[in-house]
């Protein structure tokens, strides 16, 4: 979760922060091993 937090929240305080595309968030989950239907952001 620590590594996931870096990718998910690392840019949150920036003035130019823009939410990532859902595919990018899904990739962040995949990158830390959170895969399968439970972790699908699109159902």
């Amino acid at each position: 979760m620590w590594e996931l937090s870096k990718g998910w929240y690392g840019d949150r305080m920036r003035l130019d922060y823009v939410p990532k595309a859902i595919e990018e968030y899904q990739q962040l989950l995949t990158d830390v091993g959170l895969t399968g239907p439970f972790w699908s952001l699109t159902g």
Partner: protein
Amino acid sequence: MDRELRHHVYATFAATGSPPSVADLAASMGEAAAGAGLQRLHDAHTLVLGGDGEIRMALPFSAVETGHRVTSGAMAWWANCAWDTLAIPVALDVDAEIRSTWMDTGAPVELAVSGGELSSTAGLIHFAIPAHRWWDDIVET
């Protein structure tokens, strides 16, 4: 304008531990602009408004007291959940102490973040709700 409003909300959380009130925002940017801007940010899942119209969350920050506390020097913030206790030091890029409670034993969680590293990665965070339903009720999540 929403970009500046969003950033102001986050910067206020960071600096004070709490979000700006709707009244404060209305005083600085006008009532209609504040209300409409906050609603757009809420609809975009950029922040979460409570039933009273005030800012309830700007993930990972919570405007209300929770069981999850992050401190850094003289500053402290409430996190919405266990994950957010990790996310706050990341978002702010600060060293921090994390205080929470292990769900299974009730024992206190005592973690530290220093130099961008977490003191221990042992332990589990429980997610009860599938990811695609997190925003069905983000407060419950």
